[in-house]
Amino acid sequence: MKLKINIYDFKIQLLIISIMLFLTLLFNDIYVTHLIILCMIYSAVAMNWNIVAGYTGVMHIAQQPFFVAGGYISGILSVKLGYPSIIGIIAAAVIALLFSLVIGAVSLRVKGIYLLLITLAVRLIMLSFVLYFIEWTNGDTGILLPPIEILGVKINQFNAIPSFIFAYFLMMASLILVKVISDSKLGLAFISLRDSEIYAISRGINPYRTKLTAFVLSSWLTGICGAFYGHYLGTIGPWDLGWSLLVTLLASMVLGGLGTLYGPLLGSFVLVFLNEYFRPLQLFRPTIYGLLLISTLILLPNGLISILTKLKSRFHLNFLTKMNIMKSKIESGT
C-alpha cells in the first residue's frame, strides 16, 4: 500500500500543527510551555473573531468582552457560588453566546465606524459593571480563580501538561470550527457579504440574520477560552478589559491575515514570541513592537500568511517552467 501525503489536505495540516506544538514540550521548559499555552489561547480567540471580522467583513471589538465575560462568569460561579469549575466553563460558553446575541442584535443594525463605537461602548459598560458590582466581581482586585478539575486532574499554570492539552483542544476546536464554517453554505454567505454587501443582498442573502449568525457562532468558544484563561492564570480582573489584551488579539488577527484560516494562528505565535524576544529592551519594547506592526502591515497588507502563499506560488511556477523545458527537450528529440 502506498501512503500518499497531500499537504493541502486539512487533516494533514492539523497533524503537522499538532506535531510541531507537541514537539515544543521536549524543551521541558516551563516558561516556553507557558508561552505556547498563551499563544494557543490568543490564537483561538483571534480565529473566532476572524469569523466575523475576517470572513464576514464586520469589524468590531466586542470579542474581548465576550472573552472576559467567560472568565468572570466562570470565576463568579466557582468562587462566589461554589459550583465545580466545569459548570463554570459551560456557563461561560452559554453566557458568551447570549451576550453576543444581545450585542449583535443591537449593534449589527449599523455599519463601519458606528459598529466599532458601539462595541467599544460595550467594553466600557462592562468595565463599569465590573467596578460597580464589587460583591460579585471584587472590583479592582479581580477574582482569584481555583484550578479547573477534570477527573481529578488540576488544570492551572502550575500543571503545565494538562493545561497545554486543554488549550490545545480549544485551539483545534476553533480551527475546525472556522474550517467547517468557511467551507459551508453559511461561509459562502459570509464571504459574499464581505466582498459586496449590496450585491449579496440582491442575490437573496439576508444581511442582518447572516451577520448575527456569524456573531453568535464566534462567541461561545471565546467564552470558554476566557474561562480557561482565568482558571489557568488564577485571576481575572478589570485589567483584562484593558488595551493591551485587545491590541494583542486584534494584532494577531490582522497581522496574521484577516479572513484566512491560519493567519490568526501564525499572528498570535509571532506576536507573543516577538514580545518575549524584545523583553531586554524594556521601556522601548512597545515602540519596537509598534514599528514592526506598522511595517508588516505596509509591506504585507494581506498579513504574514501571504508570505506562505507567495512562496507556494513561486515554487509552483518554478516547477512548471522546469516541466516545460523538459517537455520541449523531449519533443525536439535531444
Binding site: A189, I191, D195, I198, I201, S202, R203, G204, N206
Partner: protein
C-alpha cells in the same frame, strides 16, 4: 434560514402585466428623484428605460428592488405587492437586478459566485440540481472556461457577464439590467445584446437601462423616457424617437422642428 414570505393578495391582478408601479415617489432630502411615476411592464417584454443623467433611472431600480426604501407608491410584481419586502426577499420572489458598477464576489472562484445565486436566490434548489444549474448558467453566458478563475481576475466584460450569470442562477421571473453594455467595446456589447435576447427567449421579462439610444431602440419592444424623475414619454421605440419632448430633453429646444 428558510423564511416565510408574507404577501398581500391583489384582486385586480391582470395576467399579462408582470410589474406595475403606481405613484412611485422618492426624495433625497429636499430633492425629488422620482415624482409620482406610473408604468407597467408586460410579461415577456424587453422594456427599455432611458433618460439624461440624473433622470432617476438607477434610483427607480433601487426602489423597485428595495435596495432603497420607497417613500410613496405601490409596486406590484407577479400579482403581489412587494414594496413591504426586504431586498433579499424581493430577489427570492423572482425579481433580480444587476448593477451599473460591476459587482462581483472578488475573492471566490467564478462558479462559487454563481453558487451564491443558486443557493440563496432560490431556496427550493437542492442536491445535484444546484451543480447542473451552475454549469447550465455558465454555459449560457459563455463563462464555462473561466469557472475556476478567481472573480477578481476577470475583465470588465466577464464581470458583467458573471453578474448576469448570478442573476440567472436565482431563476428570476424578471431581470433588471442597469447599463449592461456601458464601457464595453462594440464586439463585447454585441455579445451582451445577444445574451439579452437569449434570456428573453427563455421567458424572462427584462427591464433595461441604457444610455446608448441606438442600442436601446434596437432591442426593446417598449421604451420609457425619464427626465428629472418624471415620465416624459412611453411607447414603441419609433414613437419615442420622434417625440418632440424627448428630443428637447436630450438635445435642447432648438432641435425641436
Amino acid at each position: 434560514m428558510v423564511e416565510e414570505l408574507s404577501f398581500e393578495k391583489n384582486s385586480e391582478y391582470e395576467d399579462n402585466i408582470i410589474l406595475s408601479c403606481a405613484g412611485i415617489c422618492k426624495n433625497f432630502g429636499g430633492m425629488a428623484a422620482l415624482k409620482n411615476l406610473d408604468f407597467q411592464v408586460e410579461r415577456g417584454a424587453i422594456f427599455g428605460i432611458a433618460g439624461p443623467n440624473g433622470a432617476g433611472k438607477t434610483t427607480l431600480f433601487n426602489v423597485i428592488s428595495k435596495i432603497l426604501p420607497l417613500d410613496q407608491g405601490r409596486v406590484q410584481f407577479d400579482g403581489k405587492y412587494i414594496e413591504k419586502l426586504s431586498a433579499h426577499e424581493v430577489c427570492r420572489y423572482g425579481l433580480t437586478r444587476t448593477f451599473q458598477i460591476p459587482q462581483i464576489f472578488k475573492s471566490i472562484p467564478v462558479y462559487k459566485n454563481v453558487l451564491v445565486g443558486t443557493l440563496f436566490g432560490n431556496m427550493q434548489q437542492e442536491g445535484d440540481g444546484i451543480h447542473n444549474n451552475i454549469e447550465e448558467v455558465l454555459n449560457f453566458v459563455g463563462l464555462q472556461e473561466k469557472r475556476d478563475k478567481i472573480a477578481e481576475e476577470l475583465s470588465l466584460f466577464e464581470r458583467k457577464a458573471l453578474m448576469i450569470a448570478t442573476a440567472l442562477a436565482t431563476k428570476p421571473k424578471m431581470l433588471m439590467l442597469d447599463e449592461p453594455v456601458a464601457g464595453l467595446s462594440k464586439i463585447e456589447a454585441n455579445h451582451i445584446m445577444e445574451l439579452i435576447n437569449k434570456i428573453n427567449d427563455n421567458n424572462i421579462t427584462l427591464i433595461l437601462i441604457e444610455h446608448n439610444m441606438d442600442v436601446l431602440m434596437g432591442i426593446s419592444n417598449r421604451v420609457m423616457i425619464l427626465h428629472h424623475g418624471e415620465k416624459i414619454c412611453e411607447g414603441s421605440p419609433e414613437k419615442v424617437c420622434n417625440d418632440p419632448t424627448v428630443i428637447e430633453a436630450y438635445l435642447g429646444e432648438k432641435y425641436v422642428s
